[in-house]
């Protein structure tokens, strides 16, 4: 039983360990790719935001300059903005009708 608990704890801690083991460069790369994919989905829904594109551009520029802390922060910001634009699109699929002049 004890061995099982230790094994479970080790397994649970594994992703944390992997994240910690990731270099700042890798963390940025993963966050940037995720944000890009989310923003692409927003584009397919015909509602991208300019601020998302700006955040992605800033993230890339910071990474190119070797500032991966800033790059990661901006990539995460881009992800949040892209998610918000998708949420807006989903809301407005039905909500627009409430604004129609009747």
């Amino acid at each position: 039983m004890r061995n099982k608990i230790i094994a479970a704890l080790l397994l649970a801690a594994l992703p944390v360990g992997v994240a910690l083991a990731q270099s700042p460069q890798d963390q940025f790369k993963a966050a940037y790719e995720k944000a890009e994919a989310t923003n692409k989905k927003a584009g397919e829904l015909r509602n991208q935001w300019t601020v998302t594109a700006n955040a992605l551009k800033g993230a890339k520029a910071a990474a190119d300059a070797g500032d991966f802390d800033k790059a990661l922060k901006l990539a995460n910001q881009a992800e949040a903005l892209a998610q918000a634009s998708i949420a807006q699109t989903e809301r407005e699929k039905t909500l627009w009708k409430d604004a129609v002049v009747r």
């Binding site: 300019t50 807006q88 407005e92 009708k97 604004a99």
Partner: protein, 280 residues
Amino acid sequence: MFRKILISVACCAIFANSALAADSINPEQDFKAFRQFFQSKFPKIKLDDFVNGPYSVDEGLHKQWLQKEEFPPYDFAVDKGKELMAKPFANGKTMADCFPNKGIGIRQDYPYFDAKEGKVITLELAVNRCLEQNGEKPYSYTGDDMASVTAYMAFTSRGKPFDIKIPNDPRALAAYEHGKQYFYQRRGQLNFSCASCHVQSPGELIRSERLAPALGILNAMPIYRSEWGGMGTISRRFTSCNSQVRGVPLKPQDAEYRDVEYYLSYMANGLPISGPGARP
């Protein structure tokens, strides 16, 4: 008991029908409601004056506009548009040959629904198709040449009422509804729809700009905008509106833009073409 069930079923059916009616596509009903809304909101404005945008709702701006009209800033565009309409293509034909009545006095008939293609054709799209069909390079939808040609066509159509038709074709009705939906849907980081400014807030100031009512808003297009320091097409207006609310604009003449032009132009049926216009 049986009677109670019957009454309940009948009530449910009535509510279901009401919901369906609210969701059904009815351009004529929309038209009446839209007009009623603006006339109630601005009871002192004569119906035809809505085509003058912010000048119709602001006395000071109206005075400035009358002075501006003595030497209109769009005159150069009208002259250039006249030249471009008559200038022979490499094949000897002209832009005028592509349009009914050589393009004179026809602005009020655009956009229209083309049953063969199953889509809305705007004047700007028709201009570029004419160029391409004659082996010429198309104009930029947001550039000066497009603004000039459409300015000339609008100028020769002044006073003619918008006459937009929505045929009884499910595709035309879908395009109309799609345009209406785009007009009312919020977008961009600022969470604005076209209606946020031009239905909910016409006459109000947004920063230093007086917002125009949506009714008749396209009748004066294309426009010379002092803010732009030049002429602007309908495509330029729509794409810049998207950018202003921090939304990435679609491509000029994408279906959304053509359809919203169809919707707004239909709402302005009967109101006179006043383009080209001049705006702050």
